[in-house]
Amino acid sequence: MEAAFLFVAGLLILLMLGLHVASALILLAFGADQLLSNGMMVASIGSIAWDKMNDFTLVAIPLFVMLGEILIRGGVADQLYSALSVWMNRLPGGLLHTNIYASTVFAATSGSSVATAATIGTIAIPELEARGYNRRLIYGSLASGGTLGVLIPPSILMIVYGTLADLSVSRLFIAAIVPGLLLAGMMSLTIILISIFIAPPKVRSEAVPLAQKLRMLLKVLPILVVFFIVMGSIYGGLATPTEAAALGIVSAIVLAGLNRKLSVRMMHEAFLSAFRTTSMIMLIIVSAFCLNFIISILGLPQDASRAISEAGLSPYALIWLLVLFYVVLGCFLEAVAMMVTTVGIVVPIVIAAGFDPLWFGVFLTILMEISLITPPVGLNLYVIQNLRPKESNINDVFIGIAPFVGAFIAFVAIIIYLPEIVLWLPRSMD
């Protein structure tokens, strides 16, 4: 256990020195190998990198990233936002709910939280600032709504988890649908409660005739079509998740064509943006696997599981301990790296304690979402921070996110004590 602690401390120091996440992981692996093992690791990184970068399940990552990038540029996100806003403006909290539900729908086609937060944030911030909404709530709802990008399928994190835990990515996707929608509802409830009891919005919205509302709803259709092509082909036994992503890409290109947004230039922009994400993730995945390799060689996973079984924790105590562990670690670490380096250790322990690995995948993804919105290192916070007007205060983002972090913890409790929320849909499909 001391060794595990030293690894975490070493990693945090390297990260705080400002090293790139990938170099911190690899350098820590080399350091540990030189000091504690036979120093052969350097010669193995070529093999490790090739194995991981050449994995057909992981091919789904660039494909889902590309899918999101093409959709963003195909003009569907703006339509989505305006269509949903006419339905939300009468709720307590008004258009803030649009942030949540537009993120929810966009998440159904994007595998990434950051892309979801950035896409919806770009549209929402100018619109809501102009209408005089509470800044803190705007930022909080956008940053937390964006995290749905990795819970509602497709999800890059679930692809990584499925690869690590040797679980069906398709089943993980299906298991995450109900929790994803419930979590969106929790966020909406948070906005309602704040709007009623703490900060009633000063904005008044005009009523929109139902006919117009229904007409606007048609604009959500295209994105739902892409979602049903992707999830439908998985559920219908037509395609694997990787293949479904490819079907999604082709349909997104057709959609962009129908919207008259398709051009070589637009595609090239999508490529470049997709590569910025994909290459960055792949470098982290390769580095995290190198660290993972040396951690295994040193026998840390066995030590950790021995220590935990000797501690004689009850299953629920174990799970809450993991919540604490991941929330604290998630303040400082990036989610993919956190998953790759810990799943191999944690999943066998959790299975031994009687939990379902499918349930744990969804649960872990929710904990990873929390890491995206907890300072100091929370990618979604930085996305929103970069989108906000320069005269606003950065603390608005940090304060705005706090009630949503609370909602997340409440949701984690619900998932722990009602695991059926996760397991019901995949089982009822058997």
């Binding site: 057909f56 990515v169 998740p241 295994s296 060689i297």
Partner: protein, 328 residues
Amino acid sequence: QAETTIKVLGFWGNQPQIDDVDRPMWESIEEETDGRIEIQYLTLNEAGLNGSQALRFLRRGQFDIMTINPSYVSGDEPSLVAVDLPGLAYDYETLREISDVYRPTMAERLERFDGVLLSHWPFNPQIVWCNEPVDSITDLEGRKVRVSGAPAADTLDELGATAVNLTGGEVYQALERGLVNCGSTGSTYGYRTKWHEVANHLYNFPLGSYSQVVQVANKTFWDSLSEEDQEMIRTKMAAAEDELWAMAPRVHQQGVACATGEGTCELGGEPGDMTFTEVSEADKEVLAEIVNTVTIPNWKESCTPIFPECGERFDETIGQVINGSDGS
């Protein structure tokens, strides 16, 4: 304090061959030498590896002892997989004869990866699980079958079936939703991952072969050991090897009993009620034709560029065994 540390890479964990025989055998060395030799045993799952790079790891000396599946590494060294081509053997007696007669060739070929061959043993036959009836091998025509590796894919191609490549975790869902009609895996793995819930027919043909492995020492490491230690390890491994050969058919039977619900299921869980079909003599003829016209020629073609005598060597060794057992 340990004088020597031996880093052992096993195979996939959570199977009796590894958990009950291989791992305890290695770890017993620690006690028997009063800690003079320390053992660090890792399974593939524990190391986060998939086994395809095993020969490269062997050559670099990352591990001292490695468990290597010839099929996984047939891209790097095609000659080894000759012992594990689908359709060569239907029983473990033949399989062991094949192993014995081909062992010198395997040892010779492993030398170019600085490997010293120590033992060779099989797992369960990787048989066919289908969600539609299979009474004969020809029923696979038009079906989508999940397999990995070129020889199995070639065999399916000859049978008019489509080979689909899927990761292990995805197969349950794929069988359930009809993305594939069949998949090939060992009876115990299939039972533990609940394939019997989504497949109803078990056809006893080792399409994915027997998942045989060789255990190999890195030469530099091996030469650094004293002769007594080498002898001690060889003796222990030989005993374990006999046990593992005897164990494989038993473990296979256990898995079949659980998946079909016939006989007592000792693996726990809710037994399935799959229909079990043996390979008929007529099926064996169909398969022998494929083996002779496609599987073996394709294999010879793949190994000739790097090992020109491989064809001849095969005919002199394994070829003799399989023709002998045909009674011709």
